[in-house]
Amino acid sequence: MSPEPTNTLPSEESTGERNNTSAVNTVDKVARRVRVQPARSAQGPRSKVGAWGLGLAGLLLMAALPLLNISIPGILPTPTYQPGSLQLLAMCMLMAAAALSYHLLIGVAGLLSFGHALYFGAGSYGLAIILNNFGLPLLPAMGLTLVVALALSAVTGMVALRVTGIPFAMVTLAFAQAGSVLVRRNPGGATGGEEGVSPDAAGIPDFLIGVANTRNLYWLSLLTLLIVIVVVTWVQSSRAGHVAAAVRENELRVRVLGLQPYWAKLLIFVVAGVLAAAVGMVFVLLQSGTVPRQVSADFTITLLVMVVLGGVGSKWGAVIGGVLYTLLDQRLSAFANSIAVESLPAILHVPLSEPLFILGALFVLVVLFMPGGLTGAVRRLRERLSANSAAKRN
């Protein structure tokens, strides 16, 4: 009789995690839930041309706004050719650009960073400090600021990316906190402490100074947004972008394929940081100054809210989220002070007059009931409409 065969094969691979709360894995595992919208998934060439045409028309319209007299009462404080509205719209576009840079981190690479404001601040504070202390003209000052921002994001990124998930989020938070503390301490009087700092007008060309030139700052902001959109699109469709997105989905598989996730992530991290700094530079010009809050975790959370409102993983979601948030934030105070709201009983009046309450509550509602944010909801609506019309046709 043959000896009893004993099977000493190792056991079947149990692929489920036994405890969902394993610290290092949680955010990773769940960040995979974020799905990048397939760029132009099932669109034929005709609709692609249509989309481009629409985009171009939109761009032209936005560029022409300072020359037009359009009034949107309730939303815009003044007709579009006046500085009040132009300032608001410029801010909307800058915030959209900042949100886009954050989208690159969280939506594409799945890196939940709580310290993104640090790089934005590097841009705004950096430019102001260089203009004030080194007497360089604007363009070289901007160039230098970007170099500094690049170095900063590279160094912090190299350190932070050694860990993932929650530890990564905490390291980025820590770095941003350090920056915030540093800025508040006002070393050498350069950062102005709690009051913030303003760039010396001497280094800035005249056409960017003064209320009358708000329209130039508006165009500069539009240009910034455009550049950020182009860069983000390019990175997303580049090899690094694909690797980072794949890493977001399943890091192990990427490693097994012999690709190096670390460098793809670092590249994205640095690009996102530099973009944020670029936006920060234009911000300090638009606002004629900056304050410590722009470096704080609060501001990063603001960006997070924008991206989630619009829909994580969607470029246009980030843009829409940025614009919407800024509009709500700036205009809600006006809304709250309007007679209609003032006359409400205190229990309604108090929360409604706090823009952050409305934004926070809206954010909570979106997370609970509208995963995928606004763009997700629009997409589902469109799908349902086309399904309805298809059903009708049959």
């Binding site: 709360t21 350190v159 706090e354 823009p355 954010f363």
Partner: protein
């Protein structure tokens, strides 16, 4: 020497505050995988409601102080339980969404606090004994520090007893280690979730009351500023480990006090410590090695 004693004791006092916030954060993360950004709001509300109450029944007495502790715990606990029930539970197992929802809640809560109480700090008044100092080996230590340390130690004791001696405590200890196996034993972990949130909220509420005396005021930003350090403490100590949170709180508090006094870099040092810990042992001092 006496300066060092003073710094040590006040450092432990600061650590006690951190612990009261970090204990909840740690347990909530360990059991549920939720990084609760709204924890600071539990603290702030506890502090504000207690302050309002103390103004009405007469500030400055021991009785009032003790009542405010109880109220702080109750308010923090209830706020936390409601949060878990209404916002966290519907998002079961969707950890990122749960974190996001707590972020949104903290934004909205701070905004409401500002709307109701304004952004300026409101000054608190405790029993007169708080304003005096006691001599300890030559150092003049403000008395309220002692109270903070003792209360925090009592809370630690209470939570440890609860964890070790009750069935739910056992469930929580097991669940922090392996939640799915607890479910596979036929136990409904969701009740443990609410319980952990409530305990964490109550501890935060107590922390709020103590912080209002430690710093001398309440303001809507009170919770947020402590929360960042509580996060740091939680991560350094190891997410899910109560003992880790306790040890890390003391280390961070003392370190911060000493380095702040001599060189003014306390905040930095803490952050550097966090970075060092994360890069050498990401699961924290007493966290499980994943």
């Amino acid at each position: 020497m006496s300066t060092l004693i003073l710094l040590l004791i006040t450092g432990v006092g600061l650590g006690a505050l951190y612990f009261l916030v970090a204990s909840g954060l740690s347990l909530i993360y360990g059991l549920m995988g939720v990084l609760n950004f709204a924890h600071g709001a539990f603290l702030t509300l506890g502090a504000f409601v207690s302050w309002e109450m103390s103004r009405r029944i007469g500030e400055g007495t021991w009785l009032t102080f003790i009542i405010t502790l109880v109220i702080g715990a109750a308010v923090g606990g209830v706020f936390a339980a409601l949060t878990e029930f209404a916002l966290i539970r519907p998002l079961y197992n969707r950890h990122i969404e749960q974190v996001l929802v707590t972020v949104g809640l903290s934004l909205a809560a701070v905004a409401i606090f500002e709307g109701v109480w304004g952004t300026d700090p409101q000054y608190t008044k405790g029993p007169e004994w708080f304003t005096r100092t006691t001599d300890v080996l030559g150092a003049q230590v403000p008395n309220d520090r002692f109270v903070t340390i003792i209360v925090a130690a009592l809370v630690l004791l209470g939570v440890v007893l609860f964890l070790k001696k009750t069935r739910y405590g056992m469930i929580i200890r097991a669940g922090v280690e392996n939640r799915s196996m607890v479910t596979a034993l036929g136990i409904d972990v969701r009740k443990a979730f609410t319980l952990v949130f409530t305990i964490g909220g109550a501890a935060a509420g107590i922390g709020g009351v103590l912080a209002s005396h430690y710093f001398g005021y309440v303001s809507p930003a009170l919770g947020g500023s402590l929360l960042i350090f509580a996060f740091i403490v939680t991560v350094i100590g190891g997410l899910g480990s109560l003992a880790g949170a306790a040890i890390a709180s003391v280390v961070v508090g003392v370190l911060q006090q000493i380095t702040n006094f001599y060189w003014g870099v306390g905040d930095f040092v803490v952050i550097v410590l966090l970075a060092v810990v994360l890069l050498t042992k990401p699961t924290g001092l007493m966290g499980k090695t994943a």
